[in-house]
């Protein structure tokens, strides 16, 4: 909330830092590629082509970008409220499952209502799931990092049970029956999996940014996230607000699950969202939960992900190199003291 010039400057500064970190991560990645006797430059070109060249590749970049933006947002909302919510992954799974269930069975509803029911169901399921670690943290001080990670395994196993058991389509893959056509999200840039879910994601992003910046609800979330003692003192209940932040995070995770099922797959596929929640968290962490930069970073990561396939096809470099580079990106990105004007470092010291 500084003057606009200061704000832009800070954004610019963050961008510059991001750029350096990206370069460094690519350099370390190049080392790994050299290690397996491949040409890093050629590999990176293949990566770039895999992300952007042709309808299929670009479409897949967009398709990757969509859920990442939502899960990154889900993480960021929790983080704004002071919760390190690693459980977005589980929210996506459960949201997806409920969206698929409603999509398959509630065909008695007209199209619009049916679609709305899918999304609302997904949001509700994921929100309830996020409520658990929220309550545990607020009322019993249980580390949400621990509980959400462990609950991810639980969420995955629950969905896996349903899709191999009661909801199984009975085919070789663990998957459900297809959802009704009327709730499928329109795809474009075929044969990629890009779909109008991207519009949903964009609208949700704008709404979330507005919510956090302009409303009293957003004010309170930011208040408890930055100083819960102060918030309590001015009359904001940090416990209930934390729970609300987690629920909102769950809602966003649920939307991501619904978009993936209705937009990309069209049926529930076991383990469909592996890594979507985690990668969204990485996006948000890299940009320090800055909501404006989240879409930018989600796009970069989405491109890296779809480029990885092209890379693997064109060279002998395994696609996991991309995950490696991303991980290095985040590790270097967390190091505040790196690539920072020395002034800030000294400020930090003086607080000690």
């Amino acid at each position: 909330m500084n003057n606009p010039l200061g704000k832009n400057f800070a954004l610019l500064e963050a961008g510059r830092r991001l750029f350096y970190i990206l370069l460094l991560s690519l350099a370390v990645g190049a080392l790994f590629i050299l290690l397996i006797k491949e040409n890093p430059l050629r590999s990176y070109v293949a990566l770039f082509r895999g992300a952007f060249r042709g309808k299929l590749n670009f479409g897949n970049t967009l398709a990757n970008f969509t859920p990442l933006m939502l899960t990154a947002l889900a993480f960021a909302v929790g983080a704004k409220g002071g919760a390190f919510n690693v459980g977005v992954e589980g929210e996506v799974f459960l949201g997806g499952l409920v969206a698929a269930y409603i999509g398959i069975h509630w065909t008695f509803l007209p199209k619009i209502l049916h679609l709305a029911a899918c999304f609302l169901g997904a949001m509700a399921a994921a929100a309830l799931w996020a409520l658990i670690p929220g309550l545990l943290k607020a009322y019993y001080r249980v580390s949400e990092v621990c509980s959400t990670i462990l609950l991810n395994y639980v969420a995955y196993n629950i969905t896996s049970y349903f899709v191999t058991g009661p909801m199984s389509a009975g085919v070789a893959n663990a998957q459900s029956l297809p959802v009704a056509d009327q709730v499928r999200l329109h795809q474009f840039l075929r044969p990629s999996s890009a779909n109008v879910g991207i519009v949903v994601a964009a609208l949700v992003t704008l709404a979330t940014i507005w919510l956090l910046r302009k409303t009293t609800f957003g004010f309170k979330i930011r208040a408890i996230g930055t100083n819960p003692l102060h918030a309590e003192y001015v009359g904001i209940n940090p416990k209930t607000m934390l729970v609300k932040a987690m629920v909102l995070s769950g809602v966003l995770g649920g939307i991501a699950g619904a978009v993936e099922i209705l937009g990309v797959h069209g049926y529930y596929l076991d383990n469909f969202a592996a890594g979507v929640g985690f990668n969204g968290m990485l996006v948000s962490l890299i940009v320090k939960n800055n909501l404006i930069l989240v879409p930018v970073m989600a796009f970069i990561l989405g491109a890296l992900k779809s480029g990885a396939l092209g890379l693997q096809q064109a060279t002998d470099v395994p696609k996991s190199i991309v995950d490696t580079i991303t991980a290095i990106f985040i590790i270097v990105g967390t190091m505040e003291g790196l690539f920072q004007v020395s002034r800030k470092k000294r400020n930090k010291k003086s607080e000690a």
Binding site: M1, N2, N3, K214, T215, T216, F217, F219, K220, R222, A223, T226, N227, L229, H230, A231, E232, Y233, V234, G235, I236, N237, R343, K344, R346, N347, K349, S350
Partner: protein, 505 residues
């Protein structure tokens, strides 16, 4: 060999863009007690932390025993015979007194700690200087005065012959202060040198041989005690004649507004648990609460304001029982609160001045359909910034870099401008400059004149004595006495602060 224990010249220390020390200069003769005085935030502690190696110099020269010691670290300073008793005690709560004393200098037996040997060594110092402490208690079970003695033993054990005490009397009763001075004289008689940091002129005039004054990061002058007066020192400290201009209000108190009945509440330490406290404050009255820090004052305030659950007893505001309301509901009922710690409670340092000013009335006053009413908030906070002389004036600025005084003015402005019937002011002028002290005290008087009931908790006896209409004294979570404005004095307060049962007629 130098005649000085240490010398510091042309010292500069910057923290980012903040110049904590601009032109520091200090030298300590062997065997002398040299006081370093100045207002809050003038760089006294920073100077000594530079000497002790906690901070690195930006520029300047430090000589210890006449020689340049190179880069200083606490470890190195200790080995050069320098010891420091910090304003905030450097004791680990969960460890025992003995463990704390030997920390970093443990007598060893192989890998193990040689506790019998440690005990023997510590005993020697306890006996030699009369520093009575209980070695096997955990630090969170001992009193502030005892913790200070533990710190002094720590320093002596490490072979210090130069001892720095940073505001050691801020947490002591007048009688305990006398006890400390006896110990310091013993230490001096032993040939050791002492730096005494303070801003209390009476004490400085009692204990010092020489006195150095700092103002706004600069060395103003060094004088012999014999050749100066309190008034001269005060002028040097402030840079002008000190006439604190408080417009005290003589009001005749009205109806009781806040009534506390047999209040019990939890405490961070055993001796800060509130056990059966009752009092009332009337409209247009300031009730002062005196006591050594950690005797339940903080807990009392938190219980009244809803930040700590009331375990037994009641709080009534104009006859309405508000004991179990949330902090937000208590605010709506008419309670305002200036908390003792502006950084953790009073302010959200990552918010702007404006956001800090509106946060307590967000829903009632600064929202329209759940959207923050920015226009109203801007206008309101601009008015307050003007009225309370908050600098910088731009309410959109972040509070992260506000000075202590201005930060406190933001807190005071937010709490006072609501016009509540009751104001709980806890350490309202702690760590702020003299200009801000003056303005905050005047504000309190204005609030009183307006007819509010004020509970003033302060560790500063002078503040309590000058502002309160009545004074209650707390010791170990109970009220040990009540004094009237006219008859109160420091000696009696001191006795009550130590739990003495003298009641005033």
């Amino acid at each position: 060999m130098s005649e000085y224990a240490f010398e510091m010249k042309d010292i500069v220390k910057d923290f980012g863009e903040v110049h904590a020390v601009k032109d520091g200069c200090f030298s300590l003769g062997k065997g002398e007690i040299h006081s370093l005085i100045g207002e809050n935030g003038t760089g006294k502690s920073t100077m000594m932390k530079l000497l002790y190696g906690i901070y690195d110099l930006t520029s300047g020269e430090i000589l210890i025993g006449g020689e340049n010691p190179g880069k200083l670290t606490p470890k190195k300073s200790i080995s050069l015979g320098i010891g420091m008793v910090h304003q905030e005690f450097m004791l680990v709560d969960e460890l025992t007194v003995l463990e704390n004393i030997i920390l970093g200098f443990e007598p060893r037996n192989g890998l193990l700690i040689d506790f019998p040997q440690a005990r023997k060594e510590v005993r020697r110092f306890i006996d030699q200087y009369g520093l009575d402490v209980q070695l096997d208690k955990r630090v969170n079970q001992i009193s502030v005065g005892e913790a200070q003695r533990v710190e002094i033993i720590k320093v002596l054990m490490r072979g210090a012959d130069t001892i720095i005490l940073d505001e050691p009397t801020a947490v002591l009763t007048p009688q305990e202060t006398e006890g400390l001075f006896r110990i310091l004289r013993n230490i001096k008689a032993d040939g050791k040198s002492i730096v005494f940091i303070s801003h209390k002129l009476n004490e400085v005039m009692t204990i010092s041989d020489r006195i150095s004054v700092m103002r706004q990061g600069r060395h103003i002058g060094t004088v012999e005690k014999e050749r100066t007066t309190k008034e001269d020192l005060a002028t040097m400290m402030i840079g002008r004649e000190v006439l604190m201009n408080i417009r005290t209000a003589e009001t005749s108190p009205g109806e009781p507004v806040l009534r506390i009945e047999e209040l019990w509440t939890s405490g961070e330490k055993e001796m800060s648990k509130i056990r059966g406290v009752s009092f009332e404050i009337r409209s247009g009255e300031i009730l002062g609460v005196a006591g050594v820090d950690g005797n339940g004052q903080s807990e009392l305030v938190e219980a009244i304001t809803g930040l700590r659950p009331v375990e037994r007893g009641s709080v009534f505001l104009e006859g309405r029982d508000i004991s179990r309301l949330s902090p937000g509901k208590k605010r709506k009922a008419g309670l305002a609160h200036i908390p003792e710690n502006r950084n953790t409670r009073g302010l959200n340092r990552s918010f702007s001045i404006m956001e800090n000013l509106i946060s307590s009335q967000l829903d009632e006053r600064f929202s329209r359909h759940h959207i923050v009413d920015t226009a109203a908030a801007d206008a309101y906070s601009a008015d307050l910034a003007e009225a309370y002389d908050i600098r910088p004036r731009d309410p959109r600025m972040s509070t992260s870099s506000l000075s202590g005084g201005n930060a406190q003015k933001v807190v005071v402005a937010r709490e006072v401008s609501v016009g509540s019937k009751v104001l709980i002011a806890s350490q309202p002028t702690r760590g702020v400059d003299i200009g801000a002290i003056e303005s905050i005290r005047n504000t309190l008087e204005d609030v009183k004149r307006r007819g509010a009931a004020i509970l003033l908790v302060s560790a500063d006896l002078e503040e309590i004595l000058s502002l309160s209409d009545r004074i209650i004294v707390m010791h170990e979570g109970r009220i040990t006495g009540e004094l009237d404005k006219k008859s109160a004095n420091e000696t009696d307060l001191g006795i009550l602060m130590m739990g003495g049962k003298r009641t005033y007629e």
